[in-house]
Amino acid sequence: MADPTPRNYLTESASIIRNHPEMSQSVQESSRSFDQRRADAYDQVDSQAWRTWAKAVKTHTLSNLDRYLEEAEAHLIQNGVHVHWAEDGQEAFTVLESVVAAHGVKRAVKAKSMLTEELGLNRFLEGLGVGIRETDLGEYIIQLLGEGPSHIVAPAIHRSLTDCQALFHRELGTPLDADPDQLAAAARAALREEFLSADLGVSGGNFLVAETGTLALVENEGNIRLSTSLPRVHVAFVGIEKLIPRLEDLSGFLQLVARAATGQPIGTFVSLIQGPRKADEPDGPEEVHVVLVDNGRSRLLAEEAAWEALRCIRCGACLNVCPVFRQTGGHAYGWAYSGPIGAILAPGLLGLEAAMPLPYASTLCGACADVCPVEIPIPDLILLWRERAVRDGLVPRAERFAMRVFGQAAKRPGLFSASGGLLRKVPLDFGSKALPVLSAWTETRGSLPRSPRLFRDLWKDGIK
C-alpha cells in the first residue's frame, strides 16, 4: 500500500465512478450480496444480544487495556513467544528486519492483515530483498495488479471474473476463458510452491486472548493456517486494541465476526496459536514472534468518544451497507481502511488533517451503526470529527462561509423561505468562469432542470 492519500478522495471517487463504471458495478453487486448474507445470519440468532455483549467486552477491555496487555504479554512469553512492542511502523519494521537477518530469510508468505497494509509492510520487505507473496486469493490478485485492498474482507471486490481471467492469462498462462475453478487451481499450484519454500510466515491477528496468550486468526481459504504452520518462523503483527480478556470470549467473537463479515456461522478455518512447535509435534514454526503495534492507537484511546472506533473487529459490515462506499469501493479513500470505519479510524490514527476529507465521505444515513457487531456509533463519530475539522479550520474557506450563511438563514424562517425563492431565479448554466466551484460539473454536464414548484410547496400538498 502506498502512502496514505485521503486528500485525493473526491477526485479519485469521481474518477472511478466516471471512468470505471465496471468497478463500481462489481462493488455494488458484491457488497449488496455480502450485506444480505449478514442480514440473514443475524436473523438466525439473537444478534442484538450478541452485539450488546460484544460491545461490552471490548469496552471493558479497552478501559483496562494496560492491565490486559501486561497479562497477554506475560502469557505469550510463558508460551515461548518472542514479544515485541512497536510505537509505529518504523519500529515494527526494525523488529522484522532483525528476524529476517537472524534467520537469513529470502522468501516470505503473508496472510491477509489490515495492520500490515496500514504499515506498508510489503514494500519494506521487498526493500530488504525478501520475496514476499500474498497468499489470500484476493490479496494475491491485487498484488499481481499492483493495487491495494479495496475492502477489508474482500480485497479484490472491485475486480470482475473477466479482469481475473485476463490477469491469470498474463501471469499464470491460463486460457483467457478459464472458469473460476481453473483459475483457482492455477493460483493454488503457484502459491503451494511459495508455501513450501518460504522461510517466514507473516500474519496479523483477529483477537489476542489475555488470559492464555492465544492468538486467534479467522479465514476461509486455509492460507493463514499454512502461512503460520509451514515456514520455520512466524511473525504476527497485532494492534494493541485486539485484546479480549478470556479464552471463552472467543465463543462469541468467532461467531459474530463471521456472521457480520460473510454471513457464515464461523470462518471455515480458525487458527488458535499458542506458540512455537513443541517437542511432541511433527511440524510447525520453530519461532513465533508477536509484534504489538500502537501506531496511533493509544493516542486515539485518549480521544473523548472517538476512542470507540477501537472496538472495531474488522468485519467490513459497515462498508457493505454504506451507500457511499458502494459507489467506489475502497481505493478512493487512499488508505488501508475505507468506508464508514475508515472515515473514523483515519482521523484517529493518521491525524485529522491527514485524514481530510474522509469524515465527509458519508451521508450519515446510520446504516453502518445498525449493522456494526460491536455497536460503534459511527455516524456520531463522523459528526464529531467534522465538528473538529470546522473548529480546526480544516474545511475550505468557501464552505465555511456558505455554511455560516446557511446557518443564519436557517435560524430565520422568513429569510429561509425568501432565499429559497430567490435561489430558484439564479441561472445555473452560466458556466465555469462565473462559478469556478461548479467547473468540474459544468465541464461535462448541462444545467440542472428545475422542479416546477418549490419542494416546500410540494410537501405541503402531501407529496412525501
Binding site: A56, W85, R225, L247, P265, F269, L272, E281
Partner: protein, 215 residues
C-alpha cells in the same frame, strides 16, 4: 524495544486516567439455536447426544463437508479401505489410531492425494473439527482431500463449552477449527473450493465407546 513498551503504556495509562473502567459483561449469552429439535437448554445442560450429532452433521454439510457415522471399527476400516482405492497415495496424522490406517502407499503430506487425520474434538454449534498440532499440521492442510476421524463422545454442544474445557488443559502450539472445505469467492465473487486447504472434507464420526488404548 523496552523504551517503546514504556512509552506505549504511559500513553495508555494517561488516556484511561479519568475514564472509569467498564464492567465485564460475563459469558457470551447466546448459543445459536439447534437446527435439529430447536431445543433450548439451560446453560450448563447438554442437549441429548443425538441432537448434538445431528447439529454437527447439519452445520458441516451446510458448509460443504461430508459427514459419515460409523458404529464399529470394522465398518470404519472397511469404508476407508474402499475409499482409499480412489487415491494413489495417502498421508496419515500422527494420532490416527493404527486400526484406522490402511496399508496403501503412504506419502509425505505435500505429495499425498489424500490426508487422514484425527480430530481432537469437535463443536456442534459451529460444525467445527478441532485439529491438534500434535497430529501434524501439514497433513491436515496440504492433501486436496481430507478424511478426519472424530469420536462422537468428543463433540461439544457449543463453542463456549469447548473453550471452557480447553482452558483447563495443556494446549498444543496450535489448534485449527476446520468447518468445511477451503473456499474463496475472490474471483469475481464466484465461490470455488480447495483454493489452499482441502477442497473435499469428510468427517468420519466414530460412534462407539472409545477404547482408551485405541485413541
Amino acid at each position: 524495544m523496552s523504551g517503546s513498551r514504556e512509552r506505549i503504556f504511559r500513553r495508555i495509562k494517561l488516556a484511561l486516567k479519568d475514564r472509569p473502567p467498564a464492567d465485564y459483561p460475563g459469558s457470551f449469552p447466546g448459543e445459536s439455536p439447534l437446527e435439529c429439535g430447536k431445543s433450548r437448554q439451560e446453560p450448563n445442560e447438554d442437549p441429548p447426544r443425538t441432537e448434538i450429532m445431528d447439529r454437527f452433521r447439519g452445520m458441516m454439510e451446510a458448509a460443504g463437508a461430508e459427514v459419515l457415522v460409523f458404529e464399529g471399527i470394522e465398518e470404519a476400516g472397511a469404508w476407508l479401505d474402499d475409499f482409499t482405492q480412489g487415491f494413489g497415495s495417502v498421508a496419515y496424522g500422527r494420532t490416527v489410531p493404527e486400526v484406522l490406517r490402511i496399508a496403501s502407499e503412504k506419502r509425505e503430506p505435500s505429495n499425498a492425494e489424500l490426508g487422514v487425520s484425527m480430530a481432537r474434538c469437535a463443536v456442534a454449534e459451529t460444525g467445527s473439527l478441532v485439529m491438534d498440532a500434535r497430529d501434524g499440521r501439514r497433513n491436515q492442510l496440504l492433501p486436496p482431500t481430507q478424511v478426519v476421524w472424530v469420536w462422537s463422545e468428543a463433540i461439544h454442544a457449543s463453542a463456549l463449552k469447548f473453550l471452557r474445557e480447553l482452558d483447563t488443559e495443556p494446549m498444543p502450539s496450535a489448534l485449527g477449527l476446520h468447518s468445511g472445505p477451503s473456499k474463496s469467492a475472490d474471483i469475481g465473487q464466484i465461490m470455488v473450493r480447495g483454493i489452499h486447504g482441502p477442497g473435499r472434507l469428510i468427517a468420519g464420526i466414530l460412534d462407539w465407546p472409545q477404547d482408551p488404548g485405541s485413541g
